[in-house]
Amino acid sequence: MNEPDCNPNQETFVINLGPQHPATHGVLRVKLTMDGEYIVHAEPVLGYIHRMHEKMGENRTWAQFLPNTARLDYLGALSYNHGYVQVVERAAGIEVPERAEYIRVITVELNRIASHLLWYGAFVLDLGGFTPLLYAFDDREHVLDLLESVTGARLTFCYFRFGGVYNDIDEPFITGTRAFIKRLRSRLPDYHNLVTKNIIMIKRLKEVGPISAEMCRRYGATGPVLRGSGVCYDVRKNEPYSVYPELDFDIPVYSECDSMARYMVRMDEIDQCLRIIEQALDKLPDGPVMAEKAPKIIKPPVGDYYGAVEAARGTFGIRVVSDGTNTPYRMKLRSPTFSNLSLFGEASRGMLLADALALMGSLDLVIPEIDR
C-alpha cells in the first residue's frame, strides 16, 4: 500500500470503517485517514471472513469442492459453479449435452439478475434511499423462487455437475420464467423513474468517483467496473464459452467512468440478461441433461488448466493444476471483487466520505468472495 502523502501541518485522524459498518455490507474493514470529511488515505483490511477455500480445494476430491464454489460470491453462486465445472470438464475431457448448457445459461443469467437487483437495492440504500431496496427484493424473490424450484436452494446453489446439471427443468419453471421476464420488463421503467432520473441520485453519481480504464488495467478490475470505464470487455463475448456465441446480446458499455456509468451498466445488463434468457428458452433443445459417459470419479490428466467465466461482478478465473490424482494439486481462484476493491484506495483519495461510499457501493463488493 502506498503511504499517505501527509502534510505534517495537516491535522488528520483515522477512522475505522468496519468491520461492522452499515456501508461495508459485511465484514470489510477500511482504515480511513481523514482530513475533516476528506479522505487522505484509504486502506482496505481483509481477512475477517477468510475460509481458505483454495486450500480446501486441494484437500478434497474434485466433486467435493463443488459446494464451496457457491460460498464465494453467495449472490451470484451459479456463475462460480459454472466456472469450476467448466474448467474441470475441459481438463477431464467431458462433453456436456447441449440442453444442459442451455439450462446452465438460463439459470446463470437468472442468478445474475438476482445479484444485480440486490446490488441495486443495496446501492440506493448506501445513498440513503430505503424504498427501492424493498422493490428490488420483491422482484428478486421471484427469481429465487424459480431457482429454488429447479436447484433446491435459494442462495448457495450447487446445481451443476461435471457433465451437465443435477436436475432437468420442467414446464412450470419455463412458464414461470417467461412470466418473470414480462414482469421485470414492466418494472424496470419504474426503477428508472424512481432512482435513475432522481435529481439527488444524478447529483450524487454523475462525475463522482472516476475510475479510468488505465486504473482498471493496473488493478485488474473487470466486470461492470471496467465496462463503466469505457472498455468493452466481457468474457461471454471476448472468450466465448458455453452456448453464449449462439445467443444475441449486447454488452453495455459507458465511457463516463463515474459512479453513474457503473450504475447504468448494471441496469442495462439486467435488460440484456432478460434477452439472453428469452432466447435460450426459445432455443432450448431436447435431450439429456447429463453426459452419459461422465465418470463417477474424476481424475483429470496431469496438467495446468485455466478457465474463466463472466460472473455478476466481473471475471471469475479458476486455475487448477492436476497431478492425476482424485484431488487437485493446486487451486487458484481469481475473484473479481478482490481486484475491484484494490483500486478503492487510489480512487477514493481526496474524495468526500459520502462520495467515497457511493464509489464503494458502485464497486458491488461481496466480502466472502474477496476473502475466499
Binding site: G129, F130, L194, V195, K203, L352, A354
Partner: protein
C-alpha cells in the same frame, strides 16, 4: 371550567401537563405512523401484531426503551452526554407554548410568539452538538459538525422568509396571524399573491428549510447511517436514544405547526365555517405525512449539495422574495392608499 383556567397556577399546571402529553403522544404515534406510511410506500404491512393495526406498538416500544439500562460508555463526557438529549427535547416542548391550536387554545398568547419559537429552535442544534461532542466518538463528532453547519445554513433562508411574511402580517403574535387568514382558503398567506407574488415559493422554501432544520430526509446528514452509522446518537441507547427520538418528532410537529400557522391558516377552516382545532391538527398531520412521503422516496443529499442548495439557491430566492414583498407592499399602499 373557564373560571378554573383563570387561576394562574392551575392554568400553568394544566397546560404544562397537556403540552408534555401532546409532545410525548405525538412522538410515540408519529413513529407508528411513520412505520405505517413507510410500509405502505414499500408495499408492506408494517406493525400489526401488538393491538389492532399495531396501535399498541409505540407503548410497547416506550416500555422497552424505558426498561433498558442507561448505558454511559467509557470515555464520554458524562455530564454533556446526559444533558444533550434533554437539550433537544425541552426546547421543542417549550415551542409548543405559543402554538395556537385553536382560537382560545394556546398555552400563552404572547406578542413575540414567532420570535420565541425561533429562539428555542436554535437551542436544538446545541443539543446535537453536545451529544456528538460528548460521545467521544469520531463518527458522532463528524455528525455534530455536519448538524451545526446544516442548521446555520438553513436558519438564514428560513428567517428571511419569515421576515418577509412578518412584513405583511405586521405582527409576530401567532394567534393574530391566524386571525388575519380568516375566511375562504384564498385568504391563507400561501395564496395571498397580492401581498407578495412569490408566496407559494416562500412556503416551499419554508418547508424545505424545516426539513433541513429537523434533520429529516433527504437532509438527514447528521444521522446518515451509511456513512456515520447513527451520527450524533451512535453511542446512545435506551431512553437516551428515546429522548433524542422524541425530540426529533416533536421538532417535526413544531415545523409543521409553524408552516400551518404562517401559511395555511392555522385553525381556520378553508371554507370559512366550522373553524377549530380539528382543522389545525388536520393540516399539521397532512404536512407531516408529506415529510414522511419525501423521506421514503428520496435518497440522501451530500453535505456539499445541501450547503450549496441553501447558500446558492434558497438564500438568493428568499432575499429576492423579501425585496419583492417590500416593493409590493409599497406599490399596493400607493395605489389603493394606506
Amino acid at each position: 371550567m373557564m373560571e378554573l383556567l383563570e387561576m394562574e397556577p392551575l392554568r400553568l399546571l394544566i397546560f404544562l401537563g397537556g403540552l408534555i402529553a401532546f409532545a410525548a403522544l405525538n412522538a410515540a404515534y408519529l413513529v407508528w405512523l411513520e412505520r405505517k406510511v413507510a410500509a405502505h410506500i414499500q408495499c408492506r404491512i408494517g406493525p400489526k401484531e401488538v393491538g389492532p393495526f399495531g396501535l399498541l406498538q409505540p407503548l410497547v416500544d416506550g416500555i422497552k426503551l424505558m426498561s433498558k439500562q442507561l448505558l454511559v460508555p467509557n470515555g464520554v463526557d458524562p455530564y454533556l452526554f446526559k444533558v444533550a438529549p434533554l437539550l433537544v427535547l425541552v426546547p421543542a416542548v417549550m415551542s409548543f407554548v405559543v402554538i395556537p391550536f385553536g382560537e382560545n387554545l394556546a398555552a400563552r398568547n404572547i406578542d413575540l410568539g414567532l420570535l420565541m419559537i425561533f429562539a428555542f429552535a436554535s437551542v436544538n442544534v446545541l443539543g446535537l452538538l453536545l451529544g456528538g461532542w460528548g460521545s467521544g466518538n469520531k463518527y458522532a463528532v463528524i455528525s455534530a459538525a455536519r448538524a451545526v453547519s446544516q442548521n446555520v445554513a438553513y436558519e438564514i433562508p428560513m428567517l428571511i422568509t419569515v421576515i418577509s411574511l412578518v412584513m405583511v402580517t405586521h405582527t409576530m403574535n401567532l394567534n393574530e396571524i391566524v386571525k388575519q387568514q380568516e375566511g375562504m382558503f384564498w385568504n391563507w398567506y400561501i395564496f395571498r399573491l397580492t401581498a407578495s407574488p412569490l408566496m407559494p415559493v416562500a412556503f416551499l422554501i419554508f418547508f424545505i428549510c424545516s426539513l433541513a432544520e429537523t434533520n429529516r430526509a433527504p437532509f438527514d446528514l447528521g444521522e446518515a447511517e451509511s456513512e456515520l452509522i447513527a451520527g450524533y446518537h451512535t453511542e446512545y441507547s435506551g431512553m437516551g436514544f428515546g429522548v433524542f427520538f422524541m425530540g426529533e418528532y416533536a421538532n417535526m410537529v413544531i415545523g409543521a405547526s409553524l408552516a400551518t400557522v404562517l401559511f395555511l391558516g392555522g385553525w381556520q377552516s378553508p371554507f370559512g365555517i366550522g373553524s377549530g382545532w380539528w382543522w389545525f391538527l388536520l393540516k399539521v398531520y397532512a404536512l407531516i405525512f408529506c415529510v414522511m412521503w419525501v423521506r421514503w422516496t428520496y435518497p440522501r443529499t451530500t453535505l456539499w449539495g445541501l450547503l450549496n442548495l441553501s447558500w446558492k439557491v434558497l438564500i438568493p430566492i428568499s432575499l429576492f422574495n423579501l425585496l419583492l414583498t417590500g416593493a409590493t407592499i409599497k406599490v399596493v399602499s400607493y395605489l389603493f392608499g394606506a
